[in-house]
Symmetry: C2
């Protein structure tokens, strides 16, 4: 879960509050440079940091940014272009310092190629991912079916979240007012979150931006009043279609909260009305910060 509490989102405000991110900040922050076959140098980037307040002195990087970074390393040498299924276990919090991604191919098949990617700093394994890459194109006449899209009000009627430092300063999120009551201390009572998503400096969506989008909304449990840092233990997402340019719609729901665990299922729809990504994550319910 990408973001943590109302203080970092703050109250709605004009976009003029936003710092001016460079056009390529996301691509810089997720860059993976090959230093030898299967080994990539990456750098968790403070411009996508969040939650420094809750986690003490250590800033944490948005999980979706880390996943996008690991996908760049995997897709660099993939026989298929699309990460059709990516399973990620978040083990330890990376420092804002150089890191490595090691990619091992487990299978390079005609329909799917599967790689394991490990993000490390020194000897420590921080994030472990398994990626199935495939090709999202089929023969004409292949079976096609899609469920109902989520209902969102027009973007102009949604609540833009105020820019702030780090992650919130990079993304342009506009929340469906029906899921934004927690901003004013009146949570809706249901664990749902919906909104429009793009980077503040717009960039056409692709697999990397989808990896960010599936984990970009405030945690669904904010809708139950459970604010606070909500660390993701595991997140799996599927890329289902190549997205069209434009705003993305993201709708997230939860099915069960107990014993400190909750699930969050997100769908991402593009401007052409395609379901382009699905995700589910298992995370820990956040504890409110001490006053």
């Amino acid at each position: 879960v990408g973001v943590t509490d109302r203080d970092r989102f703050g109250v709605p405000g004009p976009d003029a509050d936003a710092p001016a991110p460079g056009p390529a900040v996301f691509d810089q922050a997720t860059a993976a440079r090959r230093i030898e076959p299967g080994v990539y140098e990456v750098h968790p980037d403070g411009r996508f940091a969040m939650a420094a307040a809750e986690s003490g002195s250590q800033a944490t990087i948005n999980g979706g940014v880390l996943v996008a970074t690991m996908l760049r390393a995997v897709l660099d040498d993939s026989p298929h272009p699309h990460p059709v299924s990516t399973s990620v276990h978040f083990l330890r919090v990376p420092r804002l310092a150089p890191a490595r991604v090691r990619v091992d191919w487990l299978k390079r098949g005609k329909t799917a190629a599967v790689a394991r990617a490990a993000l490390t700093q020194g000897d420590e394994l921080l994030v472990d991912a398994t990626v199935a890459a495939g090709t999202l194109a089929g023969p004409d006449g292949a079976l096609a079916w899609t469920g109902e899209p989520p209902a969102l009000p027009p973007a102009a009627d949604c609540i833009p979240l105020r820019a702030n430092q780090g992650f919130a300063g990079q993304v342009d999120l506009r929340l469906d007012p029906a899921t934004a009551g927690w901003l004013d201390g009146r949570p809706a009572g249901v664990p749902e979150m919906r909104g429009y998503f793009q980077l503040r400096t717009p960039r056409d969506p692709d697999a990397y931006l989808l990896a960010l989008a599936v984990d970009a909304l405030p945690p669904v449990v904010f809708g139950l009043g459970a604010l606070g840092w909500a660390p993701t233990v595991e997140l799996t997402w599927q890329m289902r279609a190549v997205p069209a340019p434009g705003l993305l719609r993201v709708a997230a729901r939860c099915r069960h909260v107990s014993a400190g665990w909750f699930d969050e299922e997100a769908e991402v729809w593009d401007s052409a009305g395609q379901l382009v990504a699905q995700s589910r994550q298992l995370a820990r319910v956040g504890r409110p910060r001490r006053p």
Copy 2:
């Protein structure tokens, strides 16, 4: 996706058609014997085989049975009892011959312990799993919330699937008639599947049986008339509560089918009305068998 076409399920029939499985067949078929630290001997068991017809001469084992087997190896030395999240990539089809599961712990934390498990035969990696183990008990007063359960008719009004050899001979599946039209050549036109699940020789549900339950229904795309072998590429499931004894209710839906790929999301509810497991898998649409 566990089962493949109407021939193996056949038409509804009395349970008297069933072979009489021993009381411990499932536990035998999923046994993992430790032969050295972190290495387990297992044996893909023909009693849970399926799809021999489609895959040529080679019988394939139900994916959920393989996952249950790998979980036995992981949980043998886990600091936490429950597989709260299990991500599995199916790479190659195991033979009905001895195999090994190697378990490597990536993290042994207070809240979650994460292991990677690899099922191999000889030098070949067949199934790759990453398992987060946790403890499904929380402090009194912890936040609790659950969504609406699926609507199923009473079990007595559902359609028992005729026993047959292999997998279908071991499980007692009773389908909601609303999702069973494909049995008579009249698919409902929506990719949904719902039913009651238990072993034919009933056994209290636990984490291992849940691993089977999430992949036990006929593929959701049968509801669109796409019968045929539907191989799973990736499946991730979450255990959300310790199940009560009795019949399990399983409800599966799909959100998107295109380019030969489909998703299947299942929920498992226990006899006490708890949501006990969730899953999503990405699979390939089956091709009908040649006449």
